[in-house]
């Protein structure tokens, strides 16, 4: 059976971020392109952070899902042709992050000059922006640590990059 790009993108919605299992790689913006030539499918991916240990898992998860759906003639490339940015996360993806308890990254248009952008992250528990940045580094490379002065909860944010 011949698949269209749209078919493959919707199949790949099954593949979730191994560390944040509520967001798909498509919504995360990690899948940067699908090319179809005859029966051969190429999936291009870009790393969120260059040192992210989850990238290899993501790549093998993509391969596995393609195989599962009978698309065995494929190539999965992980390269830097497209530079990943948190602005690539879809609206659906941002909602999923928030539901998971992670403040979604603000849209920045590549203009991050200082840590102010992280200073008043919106608390995913109570929506307050009366929050304090505790550290720009968190439990994974893509997260920062915050404290909400309104509800008193500690929370994490997906970093704008």
């Amino acid at each position: 059976m011949k698949h269209s790009k749209e078919d493959i993108l919707s199949l790949l919605k099954e593949v979730k971020d191994p560390e944040i299992p509520v967001i798909s790689l498509v919504d995360l913006g990690v899948i940067t392109g699908i090319e179809i030539e005859g029966d051969h499918v190429t999936v291009n991916m870009t790393p969120t952070f260059i040192g992210c240990p989850a990238m290899d898992y993501m790549k093998s998860d993509v391969t596995e899902v393609l195989n599962k759906h009978g698309i065995t003639n494929h190539t999965v490339n992980l390269n830097l042709k497209t530079t990943w940015s948190s602005d690539l996360i879809s609206t659906e993806g941002k909602q999923a992050l928030k539901k998971f308890g992670l403040a979604p990254p603000p849209v920045h248009g590549n203009l991050i000059e200082d840590l102010d952008i992280l200073e008043h992250a919106e608390c995913p528990n109570c929506d307050s922006t009366n929050t304090t940045l505790k550290s720009p580094f968190g439990p994974t490379l893509c997260r920062s640590l915050h404290h909400c002065n309104n509800c008193g909860e500690a929370f994490e944010s997906f970093k704008p990059i």
Binding site: P47, F49, I50, G51, C52, P53, N79, L80, K81, T83, W84, S85, I112, D114, L115, K134, S135, P136, F137, G138, P139, L141, L145, K159, I161
Partner: protein, 251 residues
Amino acid sequence: MTEEALKDLLYKIADDQLILGHRNSEWTGMGPLLEEDIAFSSMAQDKVGSSLAFYTLLHDLGEQEPDTVAFTRNAEQFHNCQFVELPIGEYNFSLIRHFLFDHAELIRFQMLAECPIEEVAQVAKKLKGEVKYHVMHANTWIKQLSNANEEAHTRMQESLNYALPYALGIFEPSQFENDFIEAGIYPGEKAIETKWKENISKILTEAGLTLPAWDSIEAVYGGRYGKHTEHLQPLLSEMTEVFNVDPTADW
């Protein structure tokens, strides 16, 4: 520009990343407070990850596998500046080194992001976004601690004075400096150094720290061409311990 020149450039960047990444990781479990423990561990992970990106570019140019290159060379085969191999010391020194080094890295990657060699530009473009967080983290702590009590201020100033000659060693000119400039790869070490001085001066002034006159500081060169302190070999021995027990181990 020759391939030899390009390798010279990529090796020094890759080795700086790997060695400082290893040093940063020595704070894991030892940080003065939890957030800083996590910060240095994250920066270690970033730096080791970026060293892999550069070793991969070198592998594409015909050098050996990244693991082989990272784990089987002796100290004199490393091209890192001496600055990154110095022991982590007290926290004030590690912070000052992080501040001075990452400011230089950010400028280097911003310049290389415009490099006509596409593969190099792609890596640099990616890394400049990541290193920005390292720089912002460093700026915050440098200002906070230097403006804290007298002991903190004194410690920061002493570490700065100790670190500066080594920090200038980051910009040790390559034997291919003119080739890079002529080929438009990047504007060269002197150009990074000039911009770096400007950027760090601004933050150091806000921090209330004193910069000695630049011409009174003698840069520590040699690291780029295999001359290292006695601290590098023990670091390598520790870093390669698992690899040496079983080079085929996967973890």
